[in-house]
């Protein structure tokens, strides 16, 4: 009786496990694909092809194009870093609410002790 009721659960567990495994490996496959695609791959294919390696001017032009692309991306990243720095220097909601919590907590503790003193409950 028990084994019959557990069996669907076991299957469900296996399905979930399989899904997790697929999801776990999928991003890795994706990143590997991404890594292989950017700059540099064109040159590799070029060097393998004998006809193209002779043509130096073409390779230089390709390198220049790549350089422009890289410097553009670098500029973008620098801009993002600057924006991030500015965002980090501003106090976020955690600090604001933390500060309010400190104030309320500090004065609350004082208030608690005063109230105890007044009501006299601390004397057993």
């Amino acid at each position: 009786m028990n084994t019959v009721s557990i069996l669907p659960l076991y299957r469900l567990f296996l399905i979930v496990l399989a899904a997790c495994l697929v999801l776990n490996f999928y991003p890795a496959a994706l990143s590997a694909e991404e890594i292989s695609s950017p700059v540099g791959s064109d040159i590799q294919t070029m060097s393998q092809d004998q006809n193209v390696t002779d043509n130096c001017a073409e390779a230089v032009a390709l390198l220049k194009a790549q350089n422009i692309k890289i410097s553009q991306e670098l500029r973008k990243i620098k801009r993002e870093i600057a924006a991030l720095k500015e965002a980090l220097s501003k106090p976020g909601p955690d600090k604001i609410f933390g500060g309010i919590g400190y104030i309320m907590g500090f004065l609350g503790i004082i208030f608690y002790f005063l109230a105890r003193k007044q009501s006299g409950t601390h004397k057993e």
Partner: protein, 197 residues
């Protein structure tokens, strides 16, 4: 409007710390037990107000609310200012921790002065309360500019030069703070007038 670390001479730093401790002690003695929750709420408002930036031409200025703190807390205002500024310097890096005494003097004494002034001017009607509130909100910031210029003068700055720049920069904020204090006083007078006693 915060004084940073290392701007003021050591003697002034120590002196302002001593004055701050004395004024805080007086504030603690004068604060009634049952008004502590009010102090907590006003301190929280004061603490957060400095994050509200108002665009002003190319730069921006922020609220500081010493006038409103003085109006609402009276003699307890100094405790609120010290606590709020200490947490601001620790969490937001506004002003330095060694300049806490000077910053407290700069904001706290105007708050105490304004609190006294509000008590004299408020009268009994809604109109007189509203006018006194607005005036006190305005004067709180203006007086703290005066204290700022005086404190920076001890650090070797030109009193009138600093004072003029700070005054011009803080004039729009003072007007906004006067409006805020005015609305707050009117609201409290209608809803819970015992908070203004």
């Amino acid at each position: 409007m915060h004084i940073s670390d290392g701007v003021l001479p050591v003697s002034i730093t120590i002196g302002t710390f001593a004055a701050t401790i004395a004024l805080t002690a007086v504030g603690v003695r004068k604060t009634k037990d049952e008004s502590l929750p009010k102090v907590a709420v006003v301190t929280s408002a004061f603490f957060v107000a400095s994050l509200i930036h108002l665009p002003l031409g190319p730069t921006s200025v922020h609220l500081s609310l010493p006038g409103l703190v003085g109006v609402l807390l009276g003699p307890s205002a100094y405790i609120s200012i010290v606590l709020g500024l200490a947490l601001q310097s620790l969490l937001f890096q506004f002003g330095g921790i060694t300049a806490l005494g000077a910053n407290s003097i700069m904001m706290g004494i105007p708050a105490l002065m304004v609190g006294w002034l509000f008590k004299q001017l408020k009268g009994t009607t809604l109109k007189s309360h509203a006018i006194a509130g607005a005036l006190c909100g305005f004067l709180g910031t203006i007086l703290s500019v005066g204290f700022l210029a005086a404190l920076l003068y001890t650090g070797g700055e030109d009193f009138l030069g600093v004072g003029k720049i700070a005054f011009v920069a803080s004039l729009p904020v003072s007007i906004i703070e006067a409006i805020i204090a005015n609305f707050t006083v009117i609201f409290l007078f209608k809803v819970k007038p015992e908070l203004l006693k």
